[in-house]
């Protein structure tokens, strides 16, 4: 195994590590959905408002996970260090 192969392998490992960022948005989105479910339970009339607010908040919370995804994709396919 030469240096180039080692860089490829470590890029793949780095991509995997970057996807650990997926944990955060997962927890955040689940919490937002749980709170929205509780809100609908308390006030079923406001279901559409609650749903759109929840989706907006979840989409914003998802951004950090997507940054991790972008880093992983760059490491895997654009190969900046090779």
């Amino acid at each position: 195994m030469n240096g180039q192969d080692f860089i490829s392998a470590m890029s793949a490992v780095g991509a995997g590590l970057a996807m650990i960022a997926g944990i955060g948005p997962g927890i955040g989105q689940g919490y937002a959905a749980g709170q929205a479910a509780a809100a609908v339970g308390r006030n079923p009339g406001a279901k559409s408002d609650i749903t759109s607010t929840m989706l907006l908040g979840q989409a914003v919370a998802e951004t950090t996970g997507l940054y991790g995804f972008a880093v992983a994709i760059i490491l895997m396919f654009l190969k900046p260090f090779n």
Partner: protein, 247 residues
């Protein structure tokens, strides 16, 4: 060990006969003003999506012009009215009465982003899975935000960057610049992750599994995720613009 691993992609692609294909390809190459330009998959998908929208709009225009109050509305007229009333309600809900002039832009972006996102269902590579497309949309949103901010607050639009204390100027500036980046990266990342997943499933699994079963994943990655992201893009555009034009 009797064998040698040549590169990482060989392991990734060893399971299927086909290659996992989700990257952008060049279809044609031409020179313009001394630069080499490529006609890529994104351009072709964009042209197809635009043609579909233009043809639909022309047909809808014909139908609406001919429609009279006595007739029962046809399919196309119903679809148009559904789109227009949905977008109207969406804009009204977020921006209130002074957001009426943004309806055209929001509806355009919504229809375009929606069709781009679900075009993966029809065998195209979604144009929004190319950062060039989503970043352009983000930059247009950025221009709209600041045009309206300057129009509403004139010079105070810039002095607001120094509030509440001048020390926070760099952070406020980064916050403004991050808006188009995060908007475009969100759309791009969601659509690209769907494209990559579908490409891996079609590329790595063998034929009996790739018929029928990926339909479930298409529903999630193309239709559900695509609709949500188009909605969220419009929603955030409205929220950011409303921030600047609110009284």
């Amino acid at each position: 060990m009797g064998y040698e691993i040549v590169n990482a992609s060989q392991i990734l692609l060893a399971a299927g006969e086909k290659e996992a294909d989700f990257s952008i390809h060049n279809w044609a190459k031409f020179n313009l003003f001394g630069q080499t330009l490529y006609l890529t998959t994104t351009h072709i998908s964009l042209i197809i999506v635009s043609l579909v929208i233009i043809v639909f709009a022309l047909v809808a225009r014909q139908k609406i012009n001919k429609a009279s109050a006595e007739d029962t509305p046809g399919v196309i007229q119903n679809i148009c009215e559904l789109i227009v009333s949905t977008v109207d309600n969406m804009v009204k809900g977020i921006m209130g009465e002074n957001g009426k002039r943004f309806r055209n832009w929001i509806a355009t972006v919504f229809v375009f982003a929606l069709l781009c996102n679900i075009s993966g269902l029809f065998g195209l590579r979604p144009p929004t899975a190319d950062y060039g497309v989503t970043f352009s949309m983000g930059v247009i949103t950025f221009c709209i935000i600041h045009y309206n901010g300057v129009k509403k607050n004139s010079y105070r639009h810039f002095t607001n960057l120094f509030k509440p204390i001048p020390l926070l100027f760099p952070i406020n500036l980064i916050g403004e610049i991050a808006v188009p980046l995060s908007l475009s990266l969100r759309l791009f990342g969601n659509v690209l992750s769907g494209t990559v997943m579908m490409g891996l499933i079609y590329g790595l699994l063998s034929p009996p599994i790739t018929t029928g079963i990926p339909a479930v994943l298409h529903v999630y990655f193309d239709i559900f995720s695509g609709c949500i992201q188009a909605y969220v893009f419009c929603m955030l555009t409205m929220v950011y613009v409303n921030d600047k034009i609110a009284d």
